[in-house]
């Protein structure tokens, strides 16, 4: 291993160094002014993000267990941007009295999970994938249970850790069979060796259900709502945006490379799962009162849409999916940003609490409305483009009826997104949430999200870049 090889896995290494740095700095900072860690950590991560954009060299390490390509780099950068915004938005909440002494933990754990995701994305064999998966999952549970004195938070933690353990158990069982039938863990080898022997199908389905758990596809989604509701807002947004996005990326890579030979099979699986997911997600989202829970189900429905992109099984599909994840990150972060800002100030997180919000906090409610429209796929905000391209890719494979069902579901989803808009703009309220000024971090975070929501759609370059990278991945 020479120095160059380390440069290949730059993202991971730098992030690990960052974690250690935070640890060290934290030791030097006295308990009284732990809050200083917030700017430090955020700026550190900002640096990391910027470095991430510097031209990276692609290559393969550890005999193919780790590989880095422009596409994976792009995925990691997308995640980084998301994380930056999440961090900015969580500042206000971290500054609270009860969280003071755990600020650094928050950063370190979050980044640890991020490292895990990096490894998953760049993994070239299932061993690395599994390691990354666990690294991304186990610390997440502690994040969910971050506020240890809250029963809800604890409950969320235990629910997450147990069900994720179960899912990774099943996933592993699948992996073991893959190993048994292919005699290797390396993607390249498996790809060539993979057929449609019952055992292999079984293995694939076990593996898939393990991944589906991460993206929370129906029927592997049930943990989502509870964990999202129980976990602190910012953790929830991290869950719903970053971790989901990462798992989507990995699913793309795995499906398009390793299991490319049995595409005909997993297409059927996705077809069914996507329909169920959209429908169930919408049905549950319809009657939620708690915004976090509401967003949880909406994100499930979104995951259902996302599968349509995968169904294309071609460059268009790949591009569309990655693009959609990007759009989704911004739209969802816009929504969560508002929720967390309001939660940090007032601790309210029910839709009914938002009645008449526009009267008092016009900007927040405007951003909320934009995010809602973006999630519902209404032009001119980015969501429209994301959905359009997703459905295009599905249609390119001739799934017109699926597209039709999906668009109808989008209409249903519009209903509950509009309910939030209605609450803020139309409903009357005697004592609405009073006007407040949120701190600089939050505002920056919100502005970033808003910009993203607006720009990404119209700025076709982004889409073109993704396309240019997407080509050639499919072998």
């Amino acid at each position: 291993m020479v120095f160059n090889d380390f440069l290949t896995m730059r993202h991971e290494l730098i992030l690990v160094c960052m974690i250690l740095l935070v640890l060290i700095i934290d030791l030097c900072v006295s308990k009284a002014n732990k809050t200083v860690m917030i700017p430090v950590a955020i700026s550190l991560f900002l640096i990391h993000t910027i470095i991430g954009f510097l031209p990276a060299q692609s290559g393969v390490l550890f005999g193919g267990a780790y590989h880095s390509e422009p596409l994976t780099v792009l995925m990691k950068n997308i995640l980084n941007i998301g994380v930056v915004i999440v961090l900015l938005q969580s500042a206000a909440w971290l500054q609270k009295e009860e969280n003071r002494e755990k600020i650094s933990e928050f950063f370190m754990i979050m980044w640890a999970t991020l490292t895990g995701m990096y490894f998953m994305i760049s993994s070239g064999d299932f061993l690395m994938l599994y390691l990354g998966l666990e690294l991304a999952t186990i610390p997440m549970a502690t994040l969910a249970a971050y506020v240890h004195h809250q029963t809800k938070s604890a409950e969320a933690g235990v629910k997450f850790i147990l069900s994720s353990a179960l899912s990774s158990g099943i996933l592993l069982f699948g992996l073991s069979m893959i190993y048994g039938t292919c005699g290797s863990m390396y993607f390249d080898t498996i790809q060539t060796a993979y057929g449609n022997a019952p055992l292999q199908v079984l293995a694939f389905l076990f593996f898939f259900s393990g991944m589906a758990f991460k993206i929370s596809l129906v029927p592997f989604h049930l943990w989502t709502a509870d964990v999202y509701e129980g976990a602190p807002v910012n953790v929830t947004s991290y869950f719903s945006v970053i971790s989901k996005g990462a798992s989507a990326f990995i699913l793309i890579i795995v499906l398009y490379t390793v299991f490319h030979s049995i595409a005909y099979l997993w297409k059927d699986v996705l077809y069914i799962i996507s329909i169920i997911t959209m429908v169930v997600g919408n049905l549950f989202a319809l009657r939620q009162q708690n915004l976090k829970r509401f967003l949880a189900f909406s994100s499930i429905a979104q995951a259902g849409f996302l599968l349509l992109g995968l169904l294309g099984a071609n460059e268009v599909g790949m591009t569309a999916t990655i693009y959609f994840v990007l759009v989704y990150i911004f739209s969802n972060l816009g929504a969560f940003g508002v929720v967390s800002a309001i939660h940090a100030k007032t601790g309210k997180e029910n839709i009914s609490d938002y009645n008449g919000l526009y009267k008092t906090n016009p900007l927040l409610s405007l951003l909320m409305m934009l995010s809602m429209f973006s999630l519902a796929g209404i032009p001119p905000v980015a969501g429209f483009f994301g959905k359009f391209f997703l459905f295009t890719s599905a249609a390119s494979a001739g799934y017109y009826w699926l597209v039709f069902i999906a668009v109808l579901n989008a209409t249903i989803s519009l209903y509950y997104y509009l309910m939030v808009v209605k609450a803020m703009f139309i409903n009357k309220n005697d004592n609405p949430i009073p006007y407040f000024k949120s701190d600089a971090y939050t505002r920056v975070g919100l502005i970033c999200a808003a910009l993203g929501i607006f720009v990404i759609g119209f700025w076709s370059q982004i889409y073109e870049i993704i396309t240019s990278l997407a080509f050639g991945v499919i072998k």
Partner: protein
Amino acid sequence: MVNYAYTLLIPLIPLAVFLFLGLTGHKYKPIVSGIIGTLGLGIGAILSYATAISYFFVNHVDGTKLESIKAFEIPWLHITENLTISLGSLIDPISVMMLVVITTVSLMVHIYSIGYMKGEKGYHRFFAFLSLFTFSMLGLVMATNIFQMYIFWELVGLSSYLLIGFYYTKPSAVAASKKAFIVTRFADLGFLIGILMLSFFTQTFDFQTLTNPNGPAIANNYGTGFMGLSLITWALLFIFMGGAGKSAMFPLHIWLPDAMEGPTPVSALIHAATMVVAGVYLVARLFPVYALTGGDALHVVAWVGGFSSLFAAVIACTQTDIKRVLAYSTMSQIGYMMLALGVSGYGGHDGLGFMAANFHLFTHAMFKALLFLGAGAVIHAVHSNEMGDMGGLRKYLPITHITFLIACLTIAGVPPFSGFWSKDEILVAAWHHDKVLFIIEFLVAGLTAFYMFRLYYNIFWNKDTHYHHTPHESPLVMTIPLMILAFGAVVSGFLPFHKMVTSDGMAIESHIDFAVAIPSVLIGLIGIAVATVMYRKPGSLPDKIAGTFKNFYKWAYHKFYMDEVYLFVTKKIIFRYISAPLAWFDRHVVDASMNGIANTVDATSKSVRGFQSGRIQQYGYVFVVGAILLVLLFIYIF
């Protein structure tokens, strides 16, 4: 060939007057608008007289054909490559005749109204509407193509609506105007469908092409299309439906009596002299097509006309509202004209009926306008429409009395008044064509004389009613038109119509056929005599007679319950059994099904919430089962 392009001014001047008065009328003293309107029409009248003289006499050599001249035409709308709607003015015998009629009567009515409407609010509005009507009517008669005619046909309907509803705060007037518009509109639907069919077959709207004996309408044989009648016949019948509506032929007549809610001059202008004869004019305009395509349509025309005339005459005998009597007499007289057209043939002496119809149209315009204006003068004097409130007025209203008497004699067909000549021609035509129709018309002649003189006596003789303020003769501005029209009523019979207005433009020789003339005069006299006996002096005789024909009288008095029938159809059937159910259907079926979708979604979402039980183990259970289901699905099914 003379250039008649200036005839364009005849309709355009009233239009200008209408716009001017409508937009700025309220700014001036009422009288100003009256004068402006009258002047405008005066010019129009002079122009049309000039046209008539130059067309019939100056520029026409006896014995030659009276050509129809397209004086002016501009395209208005291209619909298909063949079908173009254009606006223009057509100069031929009937249009010129109508020009004269309309401008004359309208001018008279304008002058009369200056006095009659004095002190009414909305004075300028009244004159504006009068001008609008005149404009539309002139445009109608000068139409170069059937679609232009339809356009102005509708406009005429509108102005009639506006004028009937002139007293728009009076519910009865509002109702009447609405009724008039909708009934005629319904008839116009027939007209429109007729036009559609005609234009579909002939690919033209133009009258000259249509009426050309070698043109597509007549030359091409469209065979028997539907129910044994050729499609062209159906088209003509539909068109006649339009005409019947405007001309208040049975069963589309019900709007006419109610239309008397309008100011009396309006009744004189629209519902006696001009608009109601539009139907006759329409048939006359398309006459060659009617006559030369089998003539089945003409039979319908004849019988509808005949029946209507009898029907109306019977009702007229029982009415007590003087304007309604006149209204029914109008209907009956128009029935005459229709019948005349119906019994006519094309060309030569067969075309007698055609000539007679137009002749009667002309004379009728004169004396019926006179009658209405006279009635107006009476009403103006006693402030009532009811015969019961009148009587012995000859002392108070000498001029009105005389002119009214002249009019009655004219309509009763007493020689040498004009009515005699025109009616005689019609009877002759009927005699030659169909005896049954002749008998009907013969009876109607008698009835006409009877009810007119019943009216006359009830107003001017009979009992000496005591008026709490003595009625006085109307001002000159009102009486002069009466005299002028009376003059017209007397002399217009001597016009050489047989030279001027004939089916094919060639002059025909006409002579008094004494075999028909004498009996018709006699029955007229009999009618007058009976009326004299019954109504000259107050007496119980009328009631006795009414008593003897109790039921029949009752039916006739209630206009044979036509209104009730219509009310039943519109209110009950259409409104209650079509619209209301439709509205209900729309709310509770169509709309409900849309909402139903939403509700089902909502209900489902309520019912599935149990899945999210909040118990980890159940989550795990679903997880595992889901995975296993997938496996089963894909290993054993695919």
